[in-house]
């Protein structure tokens, strides 16, 4: 009983790193995709406004 109290916690550092890597990795991919889509939409709007004003 007393021995269990003094046992060191298991080494699960690798799993923790993997977990946070997944979190930050997926968030990064989502944010990059957001900015790329936003930029493309802005460009599309500019082109369409130009065509619309020409007509």
């Amino acid at each position: 009983m007393l021995m269990a109290l003094f046992q060191a916690p298991p080494d699960t550092t690798g799993y923790m790193i993997a977990g946070f890597a997944v979190f930050f990795g997926v968030m990064l991919v989502y944010l990059v995709s957001y900015f790329v889509r936003f930029k493309n939409l802005r460009q599309d709007l500019e082109v369409l406004q130009e065509i619309d004003s020409e007509e």
């Binding site: 916690p9 298991p10 080494d11 699960t12 550092t13 799993y15 923790m16 993997a18 977990g19 946070f20 997944v22 979190f23 997926v26 968030m27 989502y30 957001y34 889509r37 936003f38 939409l41 802005r42 599309d44 709007l45 369409l48 406004q49 065509i51 619309d52 007509e55």
Partner: protein
């Protein structure tokens, strides 16, 4: 397109600061859990991402009702924004849960009621994104999206209560776990503070991302409108 609102820029900064504090609390304030070790720290973000997922799906159902009653396209834009963000967060929650489960349950995955219902939720909303793409008429698409978001939301409370009603190995954070649950632990004061602070920060993060995504949705609607005008 209107320039970025000043309050949104302030919200971005506040969210970033709150988020850095949350990460610091997870690593330097919350104590090490004795039986699980470092992997337990994943728990704070696992629950917070699942919470944001469920929150967004609920927002989508609410704006779905608003769209059907008021027939205003802005609610469709908001619904799509909420579902897209929630899909990302719910996906992260499922993966983090799997990573946590490997050393604690000795398996990456098991068809437990919580894991199964969470997967069903993710697939329901992934299908929403795909099916929307197939409808060209904006009004029909918005109506479909609203009805789907309302019906799809039924799966969310089912996922939430699954671990409280059914026999499961998934621990319950707030409330009593099933006796067969594995990986339960009692939270100490600093653990509770970190846990609730993470939930708060992720809620703020959701609001911030939601606002950004709505702005993009409005821009997309404007482009679509202009494209239809030019092509006709």
């Amino acid at each position: 397109m209107q320039s970025k609102p000043r309050f949104l820029s302030i919200l971005d900064t506040v969210t970033a600061i709150l988020f850095v504090v949350a990460v610091a609390m997870v690593f330097f304030y919350a104590p090490l859990e004795r039986t699980m070790g470092q992997v337990q720290k994943v728990f704070y973000f696992h629950v917070a991402t699942a919470w944001v997922g469920m929150l967004g799906f609920m927002v989508a159902a609410v704006v779905g009702v608003l769209y059907l009653t008021k027939n205003d396209r802005k609610y469709d834009i908001a619904g799509l924004a909420a579902i897209e963000i929630s899909l990302v967060f719910f996906f992260i929650a499922i993966i983090l849960g799997s990573i946590w489960a490997r050393p604690v349950w000795n398996t990456w995955w098991t068809w437990d009621p919580r894991l199964t219902t969470a997967t069903i939720v993710e697939l329901i909303y992934a299908a929403y994104m795909m099916l929307r793409q197939g409808i060209e008429d904006p009004d029909r698409r918005a109506r479909f999206g609203a009805v789907y978001a309302i019906l799809g939301f039924i799966s969310v409370p089912l996922t939430f209560i699954s671990i409280r009603l059914l026999r499961t190995i998934h621990p319950v954070v707030i409330g009593n776990s099933d006796p067969s649950a594995e990986g339960s632990f009692s939270m100490t004061g600093p653990m509770k503070t970190t846990f609730f602070y993470s939930l708060f920060v992720f809620s703020v993060l959701f609001v911030d991302l939601f606002w950004h995504r709505i702005r993009m949705g409005k821009l997309a609607a404007k482009v679509e409108e202009l494209r239809l005008k030019v092509s006709s």
